[in-house]
Assembly symmetry: C2
Homo-oligomer: 153 residues x 2
DNA sequence: TTAAAATCTATCAAATCTGTAGACTAACCA
DNA sequence: TGGTTAGTCTACAGATTTGATAGATTTTAA
């Protein structure tokens, strides 16, 4: 299960993607609109900035904005910043490999063999889904729902 | 990342699968052979028993053993017992659905749309990989490694 | 130079994870 | 029947992570 931190971060990114190239957005506005504790959100946005996904400007007229186009930011990149590696076990992580302390022979570990497949399946999806893709899917879902409502009327 | 508890549990299941139909296995032997803290392992095996995956017998000659054939126990079943639902967010879980507190409209939530795909990909693998499959993959990997060594000699 | 807004530091409560200790119960065997 | 074996139950405790708050500081625009 992903943490609240990750959910908040993803919500913030989707929010900022929706307003891409419309100037800096205030943390306060984002926190209010998405129901995220402001101080908590500050730390999350800072982490996303330090990873290069976001940029910011201080002082009056300042705020946060995407560091590059929504087409060039993937869910995988964002989730790794907030949640850590996608891999279920460190010994199959591509971005942050580490030896499992309890494992003997890595080549013949049954858990590892299975978890490698799981990691690849997760990464296949998250590293190929951009913020732009997510916006499209949301629009599509909203359209579908609207049609259902129209149909009911 | 999966917890140590889950890793210990999976190791124990693989260990027990390897000795299927050879009578009850002692917690103490399992703990020693797999380097798992005994008292911690006790709690894990008990949970696996309560879920029906394992069975046990008390007293002399007692111990733990698989409740059904390794062909009929999947990694998904086992992991859900120790780690909880496979889904990254509760609102896409098949085994333990729950509404996300922070989500407004579930039908148009972008995070949900993506995480549904992730859950399905994970479940596709883990619910179709049995303990017998894992044993086979281990054997295969050990054979491959042996060949490499022979080749080097 | 003043106000706005991000940034940094520190702290904290609650939950979860990992592991331990000891009493209790069931089963076997002599 | 009594002793030994081995799983079961209850409780706890330290470490780490999570979620959140408070206040001081720095940067920038007007």
């Amino acid at each position: 299960m992903i943490s609240k931190k990750t959910k908040y971060g993803l919500k913030a990114l989707i929010y900022l993607a929706r307003q891409y190239e419309q100037g800096p957005i205030l943390i306060a506005d984002l926190a209010r609109d998405e129901n995220i504790p402001k101080k908590f959100l500050e730390a999350i946005l800072l982490a996303l900035k330090n990873s290069g996904i976001l940029q910011s400007r201080k002082g009056k007229g300042g705020g946060y904005y995407l560091g590059r186009s929504p087409r060039q930011i993937t869910m995988g990149q964002a989730i790794r910043v907030m949640e850590g590696p996608l891999a279920p076990v460190p010994c199959v992580s591509e971005s942050a490999y580490a030896k499992c302390t309890e494992c003997g022979n890595e080549n013949t570990c049954g858990i590892r063999l299975v978890m490698k497949d799981v990691r690849d399946a997760i990464a296949q999806i998250l590293d190929n889904t951009t913020l732009a893709d997510v916006l499209e899917r949301i629009d599509h879902a909203e359209q579908s729902e609207k049609n259902v409502i129209d149909f009911c009327i």
